[in-house]
Point group: C2
Chain length 408, copies 2
């Protein structure tokens, strides 16, 4: 099955927004084993939309449209599809009742042009959109499928996952089940090296994706039933996990900070941090988790060396080893643990750049964690990214060390 | 002049990367007054690249390609363009000498297939790429222009700004000069309301862009000379500025944190912060500026209420007004200013969500700044975004209040 994506919206062609919908759909199509050969962005112009649709309809089995389903004159997806297949839009009574009820519930009078959001053509059925006003269209004709979804990413993703992917099952040889294994502390190429023998597997398939906070190993299986697909993924997971060991920190939507939070909550323990090169980003990342006030006491951003001393790092250590040293990181972890009365204290110090400091090169980072069982430390590999990158890598390294410490 | 963008790379069609190059180019084309009607992404497949190029060549005056200029078999931009215009690639001696010198300087022996990065066709001239190995191509034939640039965003942007935009001057009616006015504290629609009479201007043109940290008002002029274009932009700027007043905090690449940093440096003054709902993000944003250690002493992330008291917020204030109150924000600013011996202390407290706190709704945020001239406070408008959004908005509001305070 060959697919093609068409994203509609003048805002795309003015550069006001980026087509991240296409990226999301491309990833999902790859996991489904559907080939994607072309992606296009076209403005809100019916002639150009129809021109692009006609070509897509000729050369692809599945055409996926996003955008153009709003209620205004500029929203031309339905009109263009009707032209493509030579059918007329008609108001569907059930869709109309539903649309009018949505407006009534919100105590807003419905502008009459909005009625076009309740239309269908004979070859189309509606795809429900419980979080917006525009239902999608599933069009099937002459052995081709066309799917039209809203451009709002949240509505599109929900419709894709809940409505379109299940409906595509007969065409992709079964039900699809996907699991992400999230990996920290290993680069993408090292991961591929370790799982090399499995990368050639065709069902389940395995692929790696480098994200800003981790590398994802994506396992996707197709089977006749969801249970069977899940079983196949699980079987592959039990082959992958030993190859990656403790580098795997979670699955699917887990983040290092959510995993650390869950571990601390389970143990009813708390954490506090003293950070310098990361400038508050470690604290901020920990507190990104809703409910983090249950275990995150707070942080000290001791940017000035003098402030480290004021917050309990012995001056002798600062003088002898310098502000960027393993000894100072350990003293920071100890000081913040004691002062803030936390179960775990994290200290992190280093040089984000662009200038070196104390004669030490940019990218030098020391991390220390003091907990009930003692101290662990880590010297990060020398990073050579931008200032922002070095801050981000340092935060991830600190969270990963904390995660490993908590896991014991 | 009608333009079309073609982005090449199988990684785009697998969803491994998003086509942000197209967004960047779309914005720039809009500023140049060049109409963009179609954008496409195609994989590393010569047949499909040529098919898409041929159509673009027919319907557009200017075809902009990115990607496919690397040295491997998968990099097919040059081969596809040669097929399009019916010409043969030949090694250019000057490009070859330059390429071999780059490898020699890096003490790497050049793999022979790389020689294709030194080729040209008769209708093409090379566009220099001093930060990469792949020069671009400027192809002119039969009243059409085709520009091929590397896919690496940094290399593409540099080549576009320094080589392509100047070369397009004759086709867009002159030299282009652009200035961004950066605005904080006013929404995009309020800005458009204020500058409404100017939005219809055709040279210079004015457009607004909502970015994550501010709204940009972009002024772009075309003229016969750069001096004339600059003069026109300046003239428009003097019309726009009075309409936006102190909401304009900077130009071009300025950020709130860089402007605050510059103001503090000029005065040889320092700042320290005590923050709760923002969880360290305010400190982290201030420290994103290289050289911020000159004026940023540090921050206290007093996530737990008890920690606020420990760090100098009077218990009586916490008890009487609650942790989320103007009084507590003022006490936080005062306490951190004193304890950290800074010229300016910033206090920020509020509720990021998703749960309410002390019976106060999500999005309630109080900011206070104590400086040599006294205290200023601000209650942010009630934000209704996600937890992350509320943190980000709060940081921007605090930085903007600090900026206004420093400006006097």
């Amino acid at each position: 099955m060959i697919a093609e994506i068409l994203s509609c919206g003048t805002e795309l062609l003015l550069g006001h927004i980026t087509d991240t919908n296409a990226t999301y759909l491309a990833q999902s199509l790859a996991a489904l084993g559907i080939d994607l050969y072309f992606v296009s962005q076209v403005g809100d112009n019916q002639e150009r939309i129809v021109e692009t649709l006609e070509r897509a309809w000729q050369r692809s089995d599945l055409v996926i449209m996003t955008g153009g389903l709003g209620p205004t004159e500029d929203d031309l997806a339905r009109e263009s599809i009707s032209t493509l297949v030579g059918e007329s839009m008609q108001v569907d009574p059930a869709l109309e009742a539903h649309l009018r009820a949505q407006f009534a519930n919100a105590h807003i009078s419905m502008p009459e042009p909005n009625i076009k959001q309740a239309t269908l053509i004979p070859s189309a059925r509606a795809l429900p959109n419980p979080i917006g006003t525009a239902p999608g269209w599933w069009v099937e004709k002459d052995n081709h499928i066309l799917v039209a979804m809203p451009g709002v990413p949240k509505e599109m993703k929900r419709m894709w996952e809940n409505e379109v992917v299940p409906a595509l099952s007969p065409y992709v040889g079964g039900i699809i089940f996907t699991r992400l294994l999230r990996v920290s502390g290993l680069g993408e190429s090292s991961i591929e090296e370790r799982i090399k023998p499995l990368l050639h597997s065709t069902n389940p398939t395995i692929a790696t994706y480098a994200k800003s906070d981790a590398v994802d190993v994506r396992i996707t299986a197709k089977a006749a039933t969801r249970e069977e697909a899940e079983r196949q993924v699980m079987e592959m997971e039990t082959q992958v996990r030993p190859l990656l060991g403790r580098y795997v920190f979670g699955v699917d939507k887990d983040t290092l900070q959510s995993v650390v939070g869950r571990l601390l909550k389970e143990r009813k323990q708390t954490v506090a941090v003293m950070e310098s090169l990361t400038g508050g980003l470690l604290s901020s990342t920990i507190s990104d988790v809703a409910g983090s006030s249950a275990y995150f006491i707070g942080g000290l951003v001791t940017y000035a060396t003098e402030l480290k001393a004021q917050m309990g790092v012995p001056r002798a250590i600062l003088d002898e080893f310098g502000a960027v040293s393993e000894q100072t990181a350990v003293a920071m972890a100890r000081a913040v643990r004691q002062r803030l009365a936390a179960d775990f204290g994290v200290g992190i110090t280093g040089i984000a750049g662009p200038d070196l400091q104390e004669g030490k090169p940019v990218g030098t980072v020391y991390i220390a964690i003091e907990g009930p069982a003692g101290v662990v430390t880590s010297k990060a590999p020398m990073w050579r990214g931008s200032r922002d990158d070095n801050k981000r890598y340092s935060v991830l390294a600190a969270l990963n060390l904390l995660r490993l410490t908590l896991e014991g």
